[in-house]
Symmetry: C2
Subunit: 313 residues, 2 copies
């Protein structure tokens, strides 16, 4: 038998009777597994990301898909769209991989030698943007709250497919730095981010960054191409030699692709019944492996399922 | 200027005046940075791991050091020492890298084809061990509590260099699945772990595994060699082709090495004043980059510093 140390992969969860079933019950009650929950999800529980919010990044190993979150960081989303449309990222590179922290990409010349003349021009994109670290709390946004609390925020949950922190006292909400979330690098001054340097979280969620950086979206597919890279050996995990950098072939918006070439990815709606059931199933695992179900889950341990859309008939 | 998106690396934190300083103060109050805190730490605040608890794993890219935690999982530590002393791991391999979860190593033949005859013999090590998922709470163990709560445990902090969850009602404590923590793979039955298959956490802390698996220690050095690997494409992240596996050259106990060849690593004591000051500095960052210090920290976001010992005169 496979000596697996766990069985968390949603798609591989085994169908097993609930631990709570009565001993000797001939037809045991059955707690649905994540796989079963996904299998019986309804078509309307899935959404197709808007093509203007879907970034297609081609790396040598494969395709990375990133969904922008313009309801949280609209000015950054707009600027990134401009950069992408004007082919700013084509031929740039992954320049930094800091273990248990972030992978970052952008202009390799954007280092600290002070020579800005070598930088690739930003075209019609803005060089500076207002911070957008938080946004006013909008009660009309769908919000699926988690019940188990959070170390950093007074309330956490999901809006429109993204992990969110909220503070009713501050009247603010913000995207959180969970694994796979994409943020905008900046210098020390808060208005120096513009989206030309982006990072993705590849380790324990650095939630101390929340409300200090503009989080612009989430990697939906291809995360393994950004996380499974050799760590940089320079300060902050920057690659020290140009040949260590991973070249970016192209970055395009799905909306710029002919419809037949657009990714056919779907994301489970985070305000759906199936998503709520998946959270509950992960809070209280019921299978032969788990002996002490946690009964709890933290924000960044919740997976937001993604799938390839079924081929149209 | 370097377009860094953050400045969390302890060793690189900049020495900058506290945000709270009075405007115009000619001699501003200065909040020590992590780098400064470490620089003024006292020699007795550092400890050298016991050579019998220090595992030296040689991978093609470099050395991985793992410290065992026999006060928490004594039977597993003893069995792993037996396996290591009898060269069980030499020539085995990293067999699994599941993104945002674990890297696992052991016997490549330990798969689910049911043919146990091909397995490398365990020698004098035991094939089964009692679970050791938790241990009775020991009030005599040093414990540095964190003040900001935890989603999973009623109390969290650090004992003897390891992150720990505690539950006074249960009267139990346990090592937690933070990034870099090492656990023992097992089959479904709780007594089927023996230390011949080990995993290390490489993503968001899968705290739902706490109290369901035996956690045996922590990677002190070389974590990047285990985390920065291509992800496996088979179920649960197993590598599908033998040539994808990363060979393990040797695994030895430091105590089996001649004293001059032993690693000279030191770990900051987690019951030291400097460690407490580092936690506080990370809870409330005071530098030019952070605009909204979190005022909080979660268990698995605390770094436990490690350094090379100074050469003896």
């Amino acid at each position: 038998m496979l000596r697996h140390c766990l069985a968390t992969a949603l798609a591989l969860a085994l169908a097993l009777p609930a631990l709570a079933q009565a001993a000797g019950d001939a037809t045991p009650a059955h707690t649905p597994t994540p796989k079963e929950l996904l299998a019986k999800s309804q078509p309307q529980e899935w959404r197709t990301p808007a093509p203007d919010n879907l970034i297609v990044m081609q790396l040598p190993q494969g395709q990375v898909l990133i969904e922008l979150a313009p309801d949280f960081t609209p000015l950054h989303a707009a600027n990134i769209r401009t950069l992408v449309r004007e082919h700013y990222f084509d031929g740039l590179a992954v320049v930094r991989v800091q273990d248990n922290f972030v992978t970052q990409w952008g202009d390799p010349e954007d280092d600290d030698d002070g020579n800005k003349s070598k930088l690739r021009p930003l075209g019609t994109a803005k060089a500076k943007l207002p911070p957008e670290y938080t946004r006013p709390l909008d009660p009309t946004l769908p919000f699926t709250a988690l019940p188990d609390g959070d170390v950093y925020a007074s309330e956490v949950g999901f809006s429109e497919g993204f992990p969110v922190g909220r503070d009713a006292t501050l009247g603010q909400e913000w995207l959180t730095h969970c694994y796979g979330m994409v943020g905008v690098g900046r210098d020390n001054e808060p208005d120096t981010g513009n989206g030309s340097a982006l990072y993705v979280v590849i380790g324990q969620a650095p939630r101390g960054l929340d409300r200090n950086l503009a989080v612009v979206g989430r990697v939906l597919k291809g995360m393994e191409y950004l996380s499974g890279l050799p760590r940089g050996t320079g300060p902050l995990g920057f690659y020290e030699k140009p040949e260590q950098r991973l070249p970016i072939r192209t970055v395009q918006l799905a909306s710029a692709l002919p419809p037949v070439q657009r990714p056919t990815i779907e994301v489970l709606r985070t305000d759906s019944a199936t998503f709520a059931a998946l959270i509950e199933a992960k809070r209280n695992r019921r299978d032969d492996f788990y002996r002490n179900p946690a009964g709890k889950i933290d924000l960044c341990s919740v997976n937001i399922p993604v799938r390839e859309a079924a081929a149209k008939p």
